[in-house]
Amino acid sequence: MEKFILFMVLLNCALLSGNLYMHLFLISLISIGFLTHGIDLIKLLRLIALPSGFIVLGSISIAFSLHADPENSLFCFDSMGLCIGLETAGLHKALDLFFKAMAAVMALNYLILSCSLSELNDIGRKLKIPLILRELFVLTYRYISLLFTFTGQVHIAQRNRLGYARRKQSILSVGMLFSSAFIKSLLFSDRSLEALQSRGYHGEFYFRQQKEVLRLKQVLSMLVFGILLLFLDNYSNLFDLISHI
């Protein structure tokens, strides 16, 4: 739960602040936290590769403007009477959004890497998420890991028999991969049910409640940390404003 509170603090700082430096600060803070806790750089980069790809694409579309004013653009690409260009305002907005999203994603990564599934489930319990959703959550996770192993091995087996040597074959192989995973899923759910019934399943699962006392001091210091950050943030905005005047 403490981890979740810290996550909320970090996330809110990232979302509520419009300040580039604030975002850079959060990104580096969390990254340093990861690196000092034994997560190596490569793993970290792999984790953020996917979201940052989409963020970059999105930011590019924000940066460019379709009807840019050629005078104010950093450069302009003319076609069909349109000037697709890059303006300072758009660029700023895109950069701001890019770093804001990255900071938010890093906060999310913190939650992902620090909590086990059991802990997340317990957080769900404290947040009063309906039991059925948490049950499905836990079961789904279990099946995901099974299907992942399964599809991973099928994929290797297919590669061994040149299933991905050419594009057309690849599509064929993927089709087979999916359908075998599907059949495996169906058969597996039957067997799994038999196994649960043989242990007296009657519609409910056992969830362990983490015996964890919220340490008031820690929670308070996290909250103070968050408020302080946001205050500084506003303060610096204020400062900006004053200097503008």
Partner: protein
Amino acid sequence: MRKKLFVLLAFLLPFQGFSMHIMEGYLPAGWSVFWTVVYLPFFVWGVKVIQKIVIKHPELKMLLALAAAFAFVLSALKLPSVTGSSSHPTGVGLGALLFGPIVMSVLGVLVHIFQVLLLAHGGITTLGANAFSMALAGPVVTFGIYKLCAKLKCNRSVSIFLAACLGDLTTYTVTALQLALAHPDTHTGVTGAFVKFASIFSLTQIPIAVVEGLITVLVMNILIKN
């Protein structure tokens, strides 16, 4: 017979648009709240339906969870050799038709939560918006097109292809629209922004939609043979 039907239909309602999600932090607070509020009724309705189902048949819990897991795993498989990019083909909801489409609204969220937790793909504050596009808009179109094709007596493979492919494109269009609403262009407003988002994401989305349509047809054919 029921099982046959189920196998046959299960691939028809793909979870849409795993390939494209709005990332954490990418929506202003107002829009996050807006989409969450829009989606909430469907979600609550879905949870109610599921609760009713599992009270009667606790064994269906496994099937629902497997459906979600299956959809997630397919969405997460990186298949660079197929599409030439590290894109994600759409997953498939296996229980959806058996339990009715509204159950999808819940399974879709479940799948998305795992995408967030395991792949850092998407986000918590953007959950509502993403769920709306992938677990509601897309499937509705898929379902509609398949029904329509059935009425028009189209070739089965063609209808499956169209349903899957267009469903995927719907998700992508809705996502682009959501982004455009949140970040209008400085000069051309929402319309311009929509054109921008739609065109830049079309680079990845259109090939994915086509490949996904093809794969869905293939898989269906294999499963029908079985």
